[in-house]
Symmetry: none
Subunit: 154 residues, 2 copies
DNA sequence: GGAAAATGTGGGTAATTGTGGGAATTTGTG
DNA sequence: CACAAATTCCCACAATTACCCACATTTTCC
């Protein structure tokens, strides 16, 4: 599982286009660039995948049967419904759909932040406040993380 | 787990380039030098890793699924924030992104300080005041360290 | 100590990348 | 079919980064 690395500041132009930084592009195979997928994130941000990685996410979802419960069906519907296929233009940019721009509150200045095999897309201001923690909260988060880590084993 | 050793003073040039001391480079395999990673430290400094070590840290993070909880996602973001891939130029220098220079308040004179498998990068003045402790504080810190060591395990 | 090698430091130039916007093409809608 | 909106293609300029060379300083070795 080789993860992506990097945090990038970029600008959205008036048309909602986002140019992907070359250091990010370089981490994906050339072929992947023509079929990327963006979706809503759980927080007020968007998430970018290669199509391949997106399909892997879908596998996870589909591993749980629809018969299970209405909530399962609803979750799948909502999660899937924001997904958008997009391709890269000749200037290495993707065009982000209006609905998603609104959802994430994206202005001109945005931040791309690698996370595992995904890339989160944040409005810069929101991103900064998301990262603004004091040390006591940080240690709480760290504890939380350690607790969650154990049950999964390894 | 073989740790790095040393504390080095170096200079940043006008373009934000930092030349890595040969005694530090010698502690990493030749192959590692072409893909290093910096990110923000929890204090007002930067942290430098080999890509390999960075990815190992990431493995730990990615072992916990994003679906788990908002706290998990937040923790991951905070931990990885500012990450940047960088390569070394023909004069054995790395180019430190402007944002990170600002974050750590780096001026011309900086200090590299080895810490485990990471290297911290400090502005020289900040570093000196950070290290300006008297012995009673040192002993308090040691106590705190000892107490925290048990619960977290590992 | 002195010569030779390696290292640290600085800067100029060329190539790449990021950014913006006009014009043409496509799409959807009445 | 006509029109407005959205998308793609194209070019141009600015900013950033990579590459190269020069020289001062430090280290190494005889």
């Amino acid at each position: 599982m080789n993860g992506l690395i990097g945090e990038f500041s970029c600008k959205l132009d008036g048309k909602g286009r986002l140019s992907l930084p070359s250091k990010l592009r370089a981490q994906w195979p050339e072929s992947a660039l023509h079929t990327l997928v963006v979706n809503r994130g759980f927080e007020k941000c968007l998430v970018l995948y290669t199509k391949e990685d997106w399909l892997a996410e879908m596998e996870k979802l589909n591993a749980v049967d629809d018969f299970m419960s209405p909530e399962i069906r609803r979750f799948k519907r909502i999660f899937t419904n924001g997904a958008n296929l997009m391709s890269i233009d000749s200037a290495q940019r993707i065009l982000i759909p209006k609905k998603l721009l609104e959802y994430a509150g994206l202005g001109t200045d945005v931040v791309l932040s690698a996370n595992g095999r995904k890339v989160e897309i944040w409005d810069e201001q929101l991103y900064n406040s998301e990262l603004n923690v004091d040390s006591s909260e940080l240690s709480q988060l760290a504890q939380h993380f350690h607790q969650q880590r154990k049950p999964l084993g390894e």
